[in-house]
C-alpha cells in the first residue's frame, strides 16, 4: 500500500504530515490557513481550514494551540478542498481556538482514526441520530451522501439538542429538507417556555417513526447516555446490533495508539475507532 499523499511507499494513510513537503515528525502539527469563521447557533463555532487531504466522515484532527495543548476535533465536512471543524468552547484549547480569525493559521495533526465506512452502506437506507455537538461528524456523512445521493435509499435524521439555540448547520439542513435529500426529525429536550416545537428526547421520535430494520443502517453520534438510550429504542423497532454504528468519545493524547488513554478493552478509540459497530464494543467493560 502506498501513501496517497506523498506517493512513496510509506504506510501512513494520507496524513497532513505527509502531504507537507519534507519530513514532519509524528507529534509535530502542520500549519493550515483558516478560510472562514462562522458562529453556529449560540454555542458552536465553525472554522473552515484549507487542507487538501483525503478523509472519511467521522475521522478527527488533533488541533494544537501552542502553549495551551492539543484537542481532538471531528471533521464536519466532506470535501477535497477544505475541512470544517466545529468547535464547542468547553476546554482550554477549544476556548483559545475560537479566538482565531480568518487568515490566521491553525496547527493540525491528522486525520486520524477510522470513520464511517460509507461504501459499506451503499444501496441501503440510513438513519442518522445525533445529539448536541454529535451532529457535527454526521454533517460530514451528510455532505458525503449529498454528493453520492443515488447510492442511498431514504435517509432519516433524528437530531436532538438541549435548546433551539444549540442547533447547528440550520441553513444547510433547511436546504436539504426543502429539496428532499434528507428527512429531518428534531427534538429539543430543555427548550424555553415560549418554544412551540418538538420537545423531549430523540428516542421518543425514533420509536414513533416505526421504521423497520429492513435494509437500514444506523449511525449514532452524541453523548454516551444518549447513544445508549437511542440504541435501546432502536432495539424496540427490531434493529440488530450489527446495524448500528456509533462514534465514541475518549480522552486522547497521541491519536496514534501509543499513549494508552483512549483504550476501551483492547481497542484504541483513536486508531481502531472512533467509529465502531455496536456489536464490536457492546460487551466492552474496560
Amino acid at each position: 500500500m502506498s501513501c496517497k499523499g506523498c506517493g512513496s511507499s510509506c504506510k501512513c494513510h494520507n496524513h497532513l504530515q505527509h502531504v507537507e513537503k519534507g519530513k514532519v515528525l509524528l507529534y509535530e502539527p502542520v500549519k493550515v490557513k483558516i478560510l472562514k469563521k462562522q458562529k453556529l447557533g449560540d454555542r458552536h463555532t465553525l472554522l473552515r481550514v484549507e487542507a487538501r487531504v483525503d478523509h472519511d466522515p467521522g475521522q478527527f484532527f488533533q488541533v494544537t494551540v501552542l502553549g495551551f495543548g492539543e484537542a481532538p476535533i471531528s471533521i464536519a465536512s466532506w470535501s477535497k478542498d477544505y475541512i470544517d471543524l466545529v468547535v464547542n468552547p468547553v476546554g482550554t484549547v477549544t476556548k483559545e481556538v475560537i479566538r482565531k480569525k480568518p487568515g490566521d493559521y491553525l496547527l493540525l495533526r491528522g486525520p486520524f482514526g477510522y470513520g464511517y465506512p460509507m461504501h459499506y452502506f451503499y444501496n441501503n437506507s440510513l438513519i442518522l441520530v445525533g445529539g448536541g455537538c454529535g451532529v457535527a461528524p454526521l454533517k460530514g456523512v451528510m455532505d458525503y451522501i449529498a454528493k453520492h445521493r443515488q447510492h442511498f435509499g431514504e435517509i432519516h435524521c433524528f437530531f436532538g439538542y438541549r435548546n433551539p439555540g444549540d442547533s447547528i448547520f440550520d441553513k444547510e439542513m433547511a436546504k436539504w429538507e426543502k429539496d428532499g435529500t434528507f428527512t429531518f426529525h428534531y427534538a429539543f429536550s430543555h427548550p424555553p417556555k415560549s418554544f412551540k416545537g418538538p420537545t423531549g428526547f430523540v428516542t421518543k421520535y425514533i420509536e414513533e417513526s416505526g421504521l423497520s430494520n429492513h435494509r437500514r443502517a444506523v449511525m449514532i453520534c452524541g453523548p454516551t447516555p444518549m447513544m445508549l438510550a437511542a440504541i435501546k429504542s432502536l432495539e424496540t423497532l427490531g434493529f440488530n446490533d450489527d446495524q448500528v454504528w456509533i462514534s465514541h468519545e475518549r480522552h486522547m493524547k497521541c491519536a496514534t495508539g501509543m499513549c494508552g488513554h483512549c483504550m476501551i478493552e483492547g481497542k484504541y478509540t483513536c486508531k481502531d475507532g472512533p467509529v465502531f459497530r455496536w456489536d464490536w464494543i457492546k460487551e466492552a467493560k474496560g
Binding site: K11, C12, H13, L25, L26, Y27, E28, P29, V65, L66, G67, F68, G69, E70, V90, G91, Y105, L107, E249, R250, H251, K253, C254, T256, G257, M258, C259, G260, H261, M263, E265, G266, K271, K285, G286
Partner: protein, 333 residues
C-alpha cells in the same frame, strides 16, 4: 552462533565495549543500597556492578525518559522553533530476559506499520542490548516461566554454571557489530543452547476474561490498592504517556513535553465535562492486568504484555499479588 569468554576476562571485555559509547549497567547505588541501571563513568566503575538481584527500576527511561521534550515553540507567533531529536549511542548491559522482552513489546507498540514514534525510534536505533542470563531467578517474585518469553537481544551473556567460561550468544546483526569491538581478545567460537528459565512462581492461566466479574477483584483491590502508581512506574512494559505544553514565565517560549502517565490515576480517562470512564480503583487495577494479559495478545499476537519480572508485586506497598489472585480464582478458592 556464540563465543566463549573466560570469566577472568569479563572486565576486559566490558572495557572494550565501553569504549566510545555510553555504557549503562546495573550497579548498587551507595546512598540507598538499591540496584539500578546507571551510566558508568569509567573503567573503575566496573567494580560497582551487581548481578545479585534484578535492578529495582527498569531500563525504560533510556528509551523514553520520564520527561522528554518533543519540540520547542514560540507561543507569540505560534511557531515551532526546535524539533531536533538527539540520541546518544548507548549500550545497555545486564538486562534480564524479562526486560529484553519488554523492549520487544515497546518496539511493537512504537514502531508499527501505521505509525512510528520518531523520538522512540531514534533512541532505540542507538541502543545495543546486552543481556545477562538468569541461572537462578533473582527474586522470589519472578514468574517469567509462564509468560512465553522469546530470545530478543543483541548479545546475551551466560555465566556457565560449574565452568570457567561465560558463553556469549549473538542474537542479531547488531550483536555481531558489537563483538567486533572485542576482536582483540580472540574469543573461541562456540555454540550452546540457551535454556529456558525456571521460576518459583507461576501464573496458572492466561485466559482470565471469564473472571472479569469475579468478586475477588473488588475484595482485594478496593481495600488494598492505594492508586499510588508504583507498579506502573516500575513496570518495564508500562509505556503510557501524557503530552502537555510547558510555557516559560515570559509567556513566549515553551516546550511540548511528554511524561510517563499511569492508568492507575483517575485523571487518566477524564474527558470534557468531568466525566471519568474508570472512576473506581478496581476498574483501574483490572484494566492494567487485563491490558497486559488479555487485550495486548489480542492486538499483537499470542505473547502477553507482562514479562513476569515481578517488580509490581515486589514493590507494591500493600502487597497486592495479582498472580496469586488469578491463581486463586483458577483454583476456585
Amino acid at each position: 552462533m556464540g563465543y566463549l569468554l573466560p570469566k577472568s576476562k569479563l572486565n576486559t571485555f566490558l572495557e572494550l565495549l565501553m569504549h566510545g559509547s555510553s555504557f549503562i549497567a546495573p550497579v548498587r547505588r551507595k546512598k540507598d543500597d538499591v540496584v539500578v541501571f546507571e551510566e558508568l563513568e569509567g573503567k573503575t566503575d566496573l567494580t560497582r556492578l551487581d548481578f545479585t538481584t534484578n535492578p529495582q527500576f527498569t531500563a525504560k527511561k533510556f528509551f523514553m525518559p520520564a520527561y522528554e521534550p518533543l519540540f520547542t515553540y514560540n507561543m507569540k507567533n505560534q511557531k515551532l522553533t526546535d524539533k531536533k531529536i538527539t540520541a546518544r549511542q548507548r549500550i545497555l548491559f545486564g538486562l534480564r530476559l524479562c526486560d529484553l522482552n519488554a523492549v520487544k513489546i515497546q518496539d511493537q507498540l512504537f514502531i508499527n506499520p501505521q505509525f512510528t514514534d520518531d523520538h522512540y525510534q531514534a533512541a532505540r536505533e542507538n541502543i545495543f542490548l546486552v543481556g545477562w542470563y538468569c541461572n537462578t531467578p533473582p527474586s522470589k517474585f519472578c514468574f517469567c516461566e509462564s509468560m512465553n518469553l522469546t530470545h530478543y537481544y543483541d548479545l546475551m551473556l551466560r555465566d556457565l554454571p560449574g565452568k570457567k567460561d561465560i558463553y556469549i550468544d549473538v542474537g542479531s546483526p547488531k550483536g555481531e557489530i558489537l563483538m567486533r569491538k572485542a576482536m582483540k581478545l580472540k574469543l573461541k567460537e562456540h555454540h550452546e543452547h540457551v535454556p529456558k528459565i525456571r521460576t518459583p512462581k507461576k501464573l496458572k492461566t492466561h485466559d482470565i476474561r471469564k473472571y472479569f466479574d469475579h468478586p475477588k477483584w473488588q475484595k482485594t483491590t478496593e481495600s488494598k490498592c492505594l492508586s499510588c502508581q508504583r507498579c506502573t512506574t516500575m513496570c518495564p512494559t508500562c509505556m503510557c504517556f501524557d503530552i502537555y505544553d510547558k510555557t516559560q514565565t515570559d509567556l513566549e517560549h515553551g516546550t511540548r513535553e511528554r511524561t510517563w502517565d499511569s492508568c492507575h490515576s483517575k485523571q487518566f480517562t477524564r474527558v470534557a465535562g468531568d466525566h471519568y470512564f474508570r472512576p473506581d480503583r478496581t476498574a483501574r487495577f483490572k484494566h492494567r492486568i487485563y491490558h497486559k494479559i488479555v487485550y495486548y495478545p489480542e492486538i499483537f499476537g499470542q505473547v502477553p504484555m507482562c514479562t513476569g519480572c515481578g517488580r509490581c508485586i515486589e514493590q507494591c506497598p500493600t502487597q497486592i499479588d495479582f498472580v496469586e489472585l488469578i491463581n486463586e480464582m483458577e483454583d476456585g478458592k
